[in-house]
Symmetry: C2
Subunit: 101 residues, 2 copies
């Protein structure tokens, strides 16, 4: 499994401007082959910052994902709104532990 995680900080007021597009890209992505989970959150400490959390079955599935038309539209929208900074990590899962009892 591949975990995509991190943050993207948008220009001031940017998060509210992309709410509709976020809902669209999440709904479309969750239907993709190899998508195990795909969620965005509004960071509770930093305004206009999207917390990203995605799980993919493989690097190939993730590679196919970023080439989807809805992702092109999403990246274009982000470019229009303005991404001030971002740090997204792409990590293959190693050992998993069950610490919840």
């Amino acid at each position: 499994m591949i975990i995509v995680s991190g943050k993207a900080k948008l220009s001031p007021g940017g998060l509210a401007k992309v709410q509709k597009e976020m809902e669209g890209v999440i709904a479309a992505t969750r239907k993709e082959e190899g998508c195990i989970g795909y969620s965005f959150g509004a960071d509770v400490m930093e305004p206009d910052t999207i917390l990203v959390l995605e799980y993919w079955k493989s690097w190939a599935a993730l590679d196919a994902h970023v080439k989807q038309p809805h992702m092109g539209e999403w990246f274009a929208k982000l470019g229009e709104i303005g991404v001030i900074s971002q740090e997204i990590r792409f990590i293959e899962a190693g050992e998993e532990r069950n610490l919840m009892g």
Copy 2:
């Protein structure tokens, strides 16, 4: 590195009730030994759902974290508010790729 990620769904209206406590637990945890990153987000699709994203240097650092007094207080607050469901995963990082160019 250990990645802790997932979601916790609180009772209706619960997220607003824990805003102050979330800010406190995030600030305290970021000062802990072995904490690389610790963020909460408000899921943009599911109301009252906290998106969790944490990075730790080791399983030992994570183990020490959950025993901190501020975590005991946080878990008690969550119990008081009511957690309807949660799925948090504890995964050791394997290969990391740089896909952002």
